[in-house]
């Protein structure tokens, strides 16, 4: 009986948790560093390209378009 009364006055913290999580998961999923192996992979890609041409920087981004995940790799060459 008292529970019923409390429900009306108490804030619904589960709803708060859900809203906060929805935003956080969204940003986690789209973050550049989504994979912990991203830095390692960048270094490995750099090593492969360096065998053939001078590289300044490699950037890897995960992108999602029309429900398809893709990695976009940008290689900046040495001047």
């Amino acid at each position: 009986m008292f529970d019923f009364w409390n429900n009306k006055t108490k804030t619904n913290t589960a709803k708060v948790a859900k809203n906060r999580l929805l935003v956080t998961l969204q940003s986690d999923r789209h973050s550049v560093k989504e994979y912990p192996f991203m830095e390692e992979m960048k270094a490995e890609i750099m090593e492969v390209i360096k065998k053939h041409i001078g590289v300044h920087k490699v950037e890897v981004r995960k992108e999602t378009e029309n429900g398809i995940d893709a990695l976009s790799i940008e290689v900046q060459l040495e001047k």
Binding site: D3, N6, N7, K10, N12, T13, A14, K15, A17, K18, R20, L21, L22, T24, L25, D28, R29, E34, Y35, P36, F37
Partner: protein
């Protein structure tokens, strides 16, 4: 050829090892030959939850390094003849694992057993990656709580990228267990509901387990709670194991009032 299932969570302390022990025992109860392997190198715990800590002679790192044969390292359960256990190394750290050795080790287990259950370490580092790498399926354990859900989402992301079957172009089967549900709190809006969690993680449900004090008592004694037919968590593990074995068992909504009532009834028993 057996099925390899990794039990993962991302966050530690949500009930991975308890789930591994209970699901493995539940599978064995279904008359399937099952081995449960502790992949938490350096933090061996599954042996205690299973009550087999005094029987460990060789560990999986010694097997992978060729210092011991699987036959020497494997420990037979005292409670079920279909259940076997392999211990993690307690002295080494998780960086000792190497993909080719893990692959060979798991292939050998698949030959021998109907089910190979791998208890993953917490976190999403190399030890975790090696656990999921050669798995056919994954069971993700979460608590209805923000940090557990966030970490599980990260772990699922890595699972979808790093599992060998994904690299081979197939999907990895993954299902969720929501552990430590307090029905009263869900009803009063103080705890995330299963529906909310499933919607956020976009994943299939495998089972819902209510909070149960018996879990501590069970691990105190090294007797998995699935052996306690009266316990609500034990019953939930029976249903989950049956589903893993392919039985069509409906999901019981432990969050509804009837769940609360049965809990109250149990107090008076």
């Amino acid at each position: 050829m057996g099925v390899v299932i990794a039990i993962i969570s991302g966050k530690g302390g949500v009930g991975k090892t308890t789930a591994s022990a209970n699901i493995a025992l539940g599978i064995a109860t279904n008359n399937k030959k099952c081995v449960v392997v502790d992949f938490d190198i350096g933090q061996r715990n599954l042996d205690m939850v299973l009550g087999l800590e005094n029987r460990v002679v060789f560990d999986i790192v010694q097997v992978m390094d060729g210092e011991a044969k699987i036959k020497q390292a494997i420990i037979k359960s005292k409670v079920n003849p279909n259940l076997f256990f392999l211990a993690a190394s307690q002295t080494k750290d998780k960086t000792v694992l190497e993909s080719p050795k893990v692959e060979k080790f798991i292939a050998q287990l698949k030959e021998e057993f109907d089910f190979v259950i791998l208890d993953a370490p917490a976190g999403i580092e190399s030890g975790f990656e090696h656990t999921i790498e050669f798995s056919d399926e994954a069971i993700i354990i979460v608590n209805p709580e923000v940090s557990s859900i966030r970490d599980a989402d990260r772990a699922i992301g890595i699972l979808d990228a790093k599992a060998q079957c994904v690299k081979d172009g197939n999907d990895i089967k993954k299902r969720l267990i929501i552990n430590r549900i307090s029905p009263e709190m869900v009803l009063s809006g103080e705890m995330l509901s299963s529906d909310d969690i499933l919607e956020m993680l976009d994943i299939e449900i495998l089972g819902k387990i209510p909070e149960d004090k018996g879990i501590i008592e069970a691990s105190n004694q090294g007797k998995p709670i699935i052996l306690n037919k009266k316990s609500s968590a034990g019953q939930a593990y029976v249903r989950i194991s049956d589903r893993v074995c392919g039985k069509d068992v409906p999901i019981v909504n432990v969050e509804t009032k009837s769940g609360v009532m049965s809990k109250i009834k149990r107090i008076f028993e």
